[in-house]
Subunit: 313 residues, 2 copies
């Protein structure tokens, strides 16, 4: 087997060794938002995210890069990528490091979702493709959806996508003027969950709430100012569930945790603005038992989404 065979198994080829090569520069350019919009592609960094990308969304992948060491250590990524017919390239540690300091020896380049590409053309972050994607999600009759409104911090957005996946949510809507879901920090902090459930962006908060409600979901805003206490809702759902009487015992018909539910979470710093709280069927607070004034976004979402998923069992 020739070491330079262009279509041979990656492991048989020589690794790229020039960190200044055009291909390396082109990947590194995807680290910025403008670079991603120009190329219509985004980088997926690190073994965990790339493994899930290769497993769940291989048709969006343009190229996979691994160091020889990573190709040995993460043999399942290499095997899955080659089984999917993907273009796999070896590069030495300096090449992968030059592509991204967060690659940890493994990086893939994938196409931006259609909505993001359309947005890049128009320079308008909201478009019909976002609404169409949401309609497709709603057609599958979801029972638990997380909606992020104006979330700006990529780590927080990724954490919520990851915990929504873990709690068994059917979709996440990253609504309004939120961070882009293909931001590399979002991708990394989802730990692969970005490829596990539909994540819809490019829809204004008002439109997302209206569509979710039309689809029969109760919309609950999570906010420290809420007049309903999550503990009370959980107690009511447990009592009603034990009694086998649907709806009985719920403290508020707008907020029966056993019903299909969309949770609306606000910005990490300033929460939900009044107009977004007013869009919800009810505003629910997580009980604060100590002296803390609030929870951060990820932990609040964890408690709310797990409460719903328990009630849905």
């Amino acid at each position: 087997m020739s070491r330079s065979a262009p279509d041979g198994p990656a492991a048989a080829r020589s690794p790229m060794t020039n960190p200044h090569a055009d291909r390396v520069r082109a990947v590194r350019a995807l680290g910025t938002r403008s670079g991603r919009r120009r190329a219509g592609r985004y980088p997926v960094e690190g073994p965990q995210a790339v493994r899930e990308l290769v497993r769940w969304a291989p048709r969006t992948i343009r190229d996979v890069y691994l160091t020889p060491e990573a190709a040995g250590r993460y043999a399942e990524i290499l095997a899955d990528a080659e089984a999917a017919g993907l273009r796999v390239h070896l590069g030495d540690a300096a090449v992968l490091e030059a592509m991204s300091p967060d690659a940890q020896g493994v990086l893939a380049v994938a196409d931006l979702p259609e909505a993001a590409r359309e947005a890049a053309r128009d320079e308008v972050p909201v478009g019909p493709l976002g609404a169409a994607a949401l309609d497709a999600v709603l057609a599958a009759r979801p029972r638990l959806v997380a909606v992020l409104a104006q979330v700006r911090d990529p780590g927080n957005a990724g954490t919520v996508i990851r915990v929504a996946d873990a709690a068994g949510a059917d979709a996440v809507v990253v609504a309004g003027d939120s961070v882009e879901t293909t931001n590399p920090k979002v991708v990394r902090s989802t730990a692969g969950s970005l490829y596990h459930l539909p994540v819809v962006s490019g829809v204004p908060v008002a439109d997302a709430v209206a569509a979710l409600r039309r689809a029969g979901l109760a919309v609950l805003a999570a906010d420290g100012t809420g007049d309903l206490d999550l503990d009370d809702l959980q107690d009511a759902a447990a009592v009603a569930g034990a009694a086998g009487a649907p709806g009985a015992g719920a403290p508020d018909a707008r907020a029966d945790l056993r019903a299909p539910t969309a949770w609306l979470f606000g910005n990490e710093a300033w929460g939900l603005p009044p107009e977004d709280r007013d869009r919800a069927d009810a505003v629910v607070r997580v009980p604060l038992r100590g002296r803390a004034e609030s929870l951060n976004l990820g932990t609040a979402a964890a408690v709310c989404l797990y409460a719903s998923s328990r009630a849905h069992r």
Copy 2:
């Protein structure tokens, strides 16, 4: 009232304007671990953390710095600080920015806790003062304690301290070779919770677990490999609670959520090592309903601690 009166109200004095002054350099030097150890002090940055520090731990404070704008905007901090007899200094925006880019116009300098100071002298992160602090916590008969084992990321450590406070935990033990709790990123991410409940550090994991068990707490390790499912424990606690029969219905006598409980959480990247899992009375997994392989540390702690606090009501 003289503009230079050294003991007059801060608002009546001229602000410091020299970002190169010795005092400013001395504060900035607290941004590094070695600087903090040398000085025996640490910086508390931002209005939220400083407000809680002034309110709950004023005797540990050496100095408070505010911009004139922040002194107006956060008048309650200024009032509380002056009521406590603290030394309050005004500095212009350039001075506060030079002290710390994360000050947002408000910064305090506080004494390191005794344990940290002792550790700084000895260059040994574990000392008798840690154990003594833990003994004091245990003498108050806590019902819910979070233990962090080898947690290195300051944001994660701070998030767990904050959610432990919110869930009504009685204390947090930052055990073993974890990040120092006076690291500025830890302080910021606790959002003031560092001053709301005892946070003990400088105790090896084995010693912390042994002391907690002697004090009558069940020690539950949170880990994805756990043979017990948190959902089952919550169901059993709810059934037993409804029946009024203590202990009845619990799936495992080692893990009755209604009992006083210490949760043991591992490192954000590699979890709990086997030897730490083995120290626990039981290993409990948070159910993963979607395709996620795991939760991150903060969200896992949120779900576990809120499950306990519900069972304790």
